[in-house]
Subunit: 267 residues, 2 copies
């Protein structure tokens, strides 16, 4: 609807691929060099894009802090965090919290395993949507048509022999997950790692987030991990209850108000 803004925002994913010069940007945007320059300028001013000394553009650090602030203000995350810690303390395994949004499932919180073996995952990273246990829960709750459309739209990378192979298989799995109210990923992403996950539901009964427990085979076998499912479900239900209970949406009225500095941390 707004051509200019749309073009400017197209720059971001473009630069996410790597640094680019002015007219690399211009060419990929299909606009004149000068236009690209004038598009880039406000992006730089706002810190979303950084202009390096060698005059190439890359994404700016403001993006990091913005994303961070956004994440920390997610109410599900805030409520769930202590519960994640507790689940981690009880089981010792890695705990994840993820949400679905616009074709993506991303981790919004994580508590690392006590064991030396740690998984490579990171808050903010998109999840392997076709195999991850949390993704299954999140997608299983979508309206049927949307779910089907999404399933068709996705790619199905063969991470391992146990990865979900295609859309029909995925939809079948989602149906099962939807019915049983929990999900697993048994070596679907990495051969030696298993996960079990449970949904967090919002006041409207829809799945607002999903939490999972993950552990490598060498630490605990798939059966044993699935044995922990009740604990995961209990935790998820506790979060749900709290999330549905107090709806503390602080109403911020208009006008430039001072945003209280949150407590920072150290280098």
């Amino acid at each position: 609807m707004s051509q200019t803004v749309d073009r400017a925002l197209t720059v971001l994913p473009l630069l996410a691929e790597g640094p680019a010069t002015l007219d690399q940007v211009a060419r990929r945007l299909g606009v004149h060099k000068s236009t690209a320059l004038r598009l880039l300028r406000p992006l730089c001013d706002h810190g979303l894009v950084y202009r390096r000394p060698d005059q190439r553009y890359r994404l700016g650090a403001r993006l990091f802090s913005l994303a961070q602030e956004a994440m920390e203000s997610l109410d599900v995350r805030e409520i769930a965090h202590p519960h994640l810690l507790r689940l981690n303390a009880e089981t010792g395994h890695t705990v994840h919290l993820a949400v679905y949004e616009e074709d993506e499932v991303v981790y919004i919180d994580k508590v690392d395993s006590r064991y030396p073996v740690r998984m490579y995952s990171r808050i903010g990273r998109p999840v392997a949507i076709t195999v991850a246990a949390v993704a299954k829960l999140l997608l299983a709750d979508l309206p049927e048509d949307e779910r089907r459309a999404l399933a068709e739209r996705l790619d199905y990378p063969k991470y391992t022999p146990h990865s979900t192979p295609d859309a029909p298989a995925f939809l079948a799995e989602l149906a099962r997950v939807r019915e049983q109210g929990w999900a697993t990923d048994l070596g679907g992403h990495e051969e030696s790692i298993n996960c079990v996950a449970a949904p967090v539901r919002g006041p409207d009964g829809r799945v607002a987030a999903a939490m999972s427990l993950s552990a490598p085979n060498v630490v605990v076998g798939a059966d044993a991990l699935v044995g922990l499912l009740p604990q995961v479900r209990r935790t998820a239900e506790a979060v749900s209850a709290e999330y549905c209970g107090r709806r503390t949406e602080p109403d911020r009225t208009a006008g430039p108000d001072e945003h209280s500095d949150e407590h920072e941390e150290r280098p």
Copy 2:
């Protein structure tokens, strides 16, 4: 320079404070409701802003993944990471890597302490710029006028009695840090936590990043931590050397190329 884009981008920090309705946004932007709507639309399309079921706007998940991609494509980070791991393995303490950009210092990598006591910090979060050891190193390297201007511009929160009290003290500290080539934060942010940091230098000799080792008093005293300084410096120098060595800027020419899917991870 581009009013429309500028306005649209102003929305982001605004929403970072918390969710807002359409005309809260409009009012704070100083534009008509309909304008705000048309500004919000492309932001939503690109996933930077999410429109919740209750029709309030908040920052979107795309921001997370974008920031993540940006971070992972930072070459310093990539080069430094194995070294951070090694330093962590050797000392057992928390290791941070941070960069400076446009008045902000943000963590771009972190390896957690082996010890149960973990610090609250997070990749992407802005650093307490007036006290953090990494911040001191990064700022000490700025040109004098810029450094002074920035110092005047900053706030000096009294996190603890040891926090940097004001601009003159900060500038003095920066001068010292600049000379000695390393920095500390002894309880300046949290009474019981100390850090030592060393700079990573780019090909141009300027400080490109800073890495630090942090530990709470209960684990290791300030003296002992400072005793680890040589190791930190050695590590930072190793990173510098490598960073200056291979300048592998993959030249991406124009044209819509497929971006190879990186390996994802699990829920």
